[in-house]
């Protein structure tokens, strides 16, 4: 069999296995575990979206929380029923045109992505003229502005009170297909000529321009697409947690995603997926650190924050000692195994 065909079959088999695993998981995991599993999937989407700009286009953007917030609010406001809105907006009534608007989840999810992409475009068009640390600070600034605006537009977002009682739409069969779609999208994109242009911009902007690549346009497109994905991720997160408020979308959230991307390897899709799942599970497993700790002889009082100390240390350790993260910029492929197998056989012969 040709390797190409064999790999296709292997991929199909892996896909089928994935679907079976989801079905089994959906059946047998308890609600807490399911929630963690969904969170993993959402982090896959978010990490890929950040990796698209940071890893593949070389733009150090720290504004992700802002685009997630836009997505989360858009989706929530579109899906909530008029009654729920009335209950939530008790300080000041919601703007009239939103009061009776209520659409199904999937179109709302797409709308969330589109609105986030639009905001991403509006932010990117000026901000992407900047480079490196200036871009980082400017995007961070835009994210803060978005958060401040959300806090202050009482009749649109319910301000600091946030929105409660969103329907729990982010089930296994929604979030994991979204994650799979994001992975597929990223794989095809990075292998295409457009992905190549992005990597060229990352490696050397001036040379990319000299090759006829419209550098600014590539940056804006990458940033907009990334914002779309962040918006979808944010919307999913909102509908998993069922409440959202502006405080959720601080720089801390961007930090978590950045941690995943750095840990997995900046510029590796495989790395982002593995790290998203790993970090999410670790975050839940280490939750005990924030509670009282029992060392047998003595017990410490609850110290919320210890868990984040661990994650900050983890991030610093990776940057200081293993800058390329888990995967560097390498990707998973089936031929990885056949190469390894070949090497082993040759070892045996020698």
């Amino acid at each position: 069999m040709r390797p190409g065909r064999r790999h296709l079959l292997l991929s199909l088999a892996a896909g089928a296995l994935f679907v079976v695993a989801l079905a089994l998981g959906d059946q047998f995991l308890d609600s807490f575990q399911l929630r963690v599993s969904s969170l993993c999937a959402i982090y896959v989407v978010l990490a890929l979206s950040l990796n698209l700009v940071n890893g593949f286009t070389g733009l150090f953007s720290l504004g992700h929380a802002g685009f997630m917030a836009v997505g989360a609010y858009t989706c929530a406001l579109l899906t909530m029923t008029p009654e729920q809105k009335e209950m939530n907006f008790f300080l000041a009534p919601v703007v009239p045109w939103l009061a009776h608007l209520s659409i199904p989840f999937l179109p709302a999810l797409v709308a969330a992505g589109l609105v986030a992409a639009l905001i991403g475009f509006l932010v990117g068009a000026p901000a992407l003229r900047l480079k490196d640390d200036y871009l980082a600070i400017a995007t961070l600034g835009f994210a803060e502005i978005i958060r401040v605006v959300l806090t202050n537009t009482q009749t649109l977002t319910n301000g600091a009170l946030g929105l409660k009682g969103l329907p729990m739409y982010a089930t296994t069969w929604v979030v994991w297909p979204c994650a799979a779609l994001s992975v597929a999208f990223m794989v095809f994109l990075t292998r295409s000529s457009y992905g190549r242009a992005m990597k060229a911009v990352r490696d050397d902007e001036i040379a990319a321009g000299a090759m006829g690549v419209d550098v600014f346009r590539v940056k804006v497109v990458s940033f907009t697409v990334s914002s779309f994905m962040a918006g979808v991720g944010g919307a999913l997160l909102g509908h998993l947690l069922t409440t959202i408020d502006p405080k959720m979308f601080t720089f801390m959230l961007t930090f978590n995603i950045l941690l995943v991307v750095v840990l997995g390897g900046i510029g590796s899709i495989t790395g982002s997926v593995i790290a998203a799942i790993g970090v999410t599970i670790l975050m839940e497993v280490l939750r005990f650190l924030d509670g009282p700790l029992n060392f047998g002889l003595f017990e410490t009082e609850a110290r919320p924050g210890l868990r984040m100390v661990v994650f900050s240390l983890l991030l610093m350790a990776v940057v200081l000692f293993r800058q390329r993260g888990l995967m560097g910029n390498r990707e998973f492929s089936w031929s990885m195994f056949s190469r390894a197998g070949l090497a082993r056989r040759e070892d045996g012969r020698a």
Partner: protein, 297 residues
Amino acid sequence: MTLPLLLQHLANALALGSLYALIAIGYTMVYGILRLINFAHGDVFMLGAYVAFYCVALFLLPWWASFVIAIVVTALMGVLLERVAYRPLRDSPKISVMISAIGASFLIENVAVVLFGGRPKGVAVPDILNVKLTLGAVSVMSVSLVIPICTFALLAVLLWVVGKTRTGMAMRAVSTDLDAARLQAIDVNRIISFTFGSGSLLASFGGILWSYKYPQLNPLMGVMPGLKCFIAAVIGGIGNIQGAVLGGFLLGAIELLTIAFLPTLTGYRDAFAFVLLIVVLLVKPSGLLGSRQVEKV
């Protein structure tokens, strides 16, 4: 708006601007030498305030002794921060250094949450700074006058150090061209440590004064001032000490006076700095007093 009220607002803006200026100087000095945003600078500011607080609250030291201990301890922490988080990455891509800076910032904040607790702490303001001074219809707390005086005094000392001493000369050499400075037998590491030390000292000075003016501490208190002061440094022209001071005062004035004249915008206060940043970056990226840099092809 009546004149006394305007003067009152101006006095407050002057005090806030001075505090911003003190922190912004640290950003600008570090950026001038290493081309690095020291994300953890705001957290150094927070540490200064906490160390002073605990010296008074735990060890029952007088406030002035606490003040001195706190700025020395914090300056050393600034030096340590550079050693651990930045020095190993000096030849790494910019993105790695920034990630390390963000990691260091989060580490300090979360260690602070664990050590100091997440709940805000009230600060006992020294009596001498808590005197109400009245001049006609205008009345200000003494701390609001002490802050600008301290700032200008420190600025004068700093400008003397940078302009007139051998260390200052070496600092300028390193910021112009690090490698060339090394060839001139300048101990670059020592100069960088000195820069972080003095920047952190100013930040903790600012942090302690901040805690006397707004007497409440929490582990995340450095985040917003930190970001804003970086912005102040960019507005003034990053790498330029006078620029950082100018940016600090400008930012303080814009924040407080906008709120004073347009109270409906109060909720948007934290967004002003970012809007200003974006405008400056797009209109004059080199800042008010900065010089333009051209990328070599």
